[in-house]
Point group: C2
């Protein structure tokens, strides 16, 4: 469960410098990207500055991630979270109660560092079109498509985008606008309040037809 | 109705320079603030740069609006929109159907310029705590408090913040993330889809007690 995921102190003491090839390097670059975008924002960060932070050659960053937008998408997903796997787990649990389980999972991921990563993502959005399109493209491919596949009716994309509109709003309200009491409500309570509402978008009737 | 509000060409041809005192000056400063924050973002804009754009002394800007954060809150409300009056009108229509009327009003305001002003507000949020707190403080005083007064049950603040979490999310999804089909859905259709869901937060049962 993402909610109980322990901190990863190893990452903090890992020395900078040359790294072995493979997944460790990829993970280290993603971690460096996360830190770099969080500290500097989307505009000021670069493939080069992320490479410097990760202790690798910029060509290796481009090899693994492509351009800055793709790096942003990969970098802002919190460490240890696999959105595609989370989506598969959620969908495997069935449509019944999916709304509340979805909220629990999303809050578990983005609450885990007090909203720091979410605010970094958010600040990337504010700086232009590219980062939000990069991230939404990623989320669309990895998450939305899996959820849409199990939804009833003729317009799963509409259902998924309505779900997204509420889930994103909860995160913005909680971690950026900090409107009380949503900002400091217990995650389980918040999931119990919002989950059934989101569920209506997942499998309830859609007014006005599809 | 904000949806049918015509453009205000007078603002475009109004010459810069000395202005008469009073509401016109105040309005001109707010308009200048809106343009300035939209073009430069929160960090780069200043009381001084807004004053220059409005053709007034910075002291006059401070006299009317206080500091940069307060100016941001006043400046980002689209021209011709009075949030307190809109809230009063909505509430006067009764609780029945308030969710859908609220969505219509909000979409009417923020759709009217294709989301330009909303993205400007949003970019201000991304740049730090001050602008979002300034705006939410303003919205809380002028809007939330009026809505909360007519809601049933022991926890109107919880209801209002849940409503806010969905409404903000719809705007972010539509105008910043541009997730389809929410991004390009007809406003009436979107209000018909989201309104009944928001209505549940307004007067439905809240799971888990209050």
């Amino acid at each position: 469960m993402p909610t109980s995921r322990p901190p990863e102190p190893a990452a903090a003491v890992r020395p900078r410098g040359r790294r072995p090839a493979g997944e460790d390097t990829r993970g280290a670059i993603a971690a460096a990207a996360r830190e770099e975008f969080a500290e500097k924002g989307y505009e000021a960060a670069s493939v080069r500055s992320v490479a410097r932070r990760a202790g690798v050659d910029p060509a290796l960053v481009r090899h693994y991630f492509g351009d800055k937008a793709a790096l942003f998408a990969a970098g802002v997903i919190p460490r240890g979270v696999d959105p595609a796997q989370s989506a598969a787990d959620l969908v495997a649990g069935g449509l019944d109660g999916l709304g509340e389980r979805l909220l629990r999972t999303v809050l578990g991921v983005w609450d885990s560092d007090g909203g720091v990563t979410f605010r970094a993502v958010f600040s990337g959005f504010g700086s232009g079109e590219v980062p939000s399109q990069a991230l939404m493209g990623y989320v669309g491919r990895e998450v939305f498509s899996q959820v849409a596949r199990v939804l009833p009716g003729p317009d799963p994309a509409l259902r998924v985008s309505l779900v997204a509109s509420h889930v994103v709003g909860v995160l913005v309200t909680r971690h950026v606008l900090r409107v009380e009491p949503v900002a400091s409500l217990d995650a389980d309570r918040l999931a119990a309040l919002v989950g059934p509402v989101v569920q209506r978008y997942l499998d309830g009737p859609l007014p006005g037809g599809a």
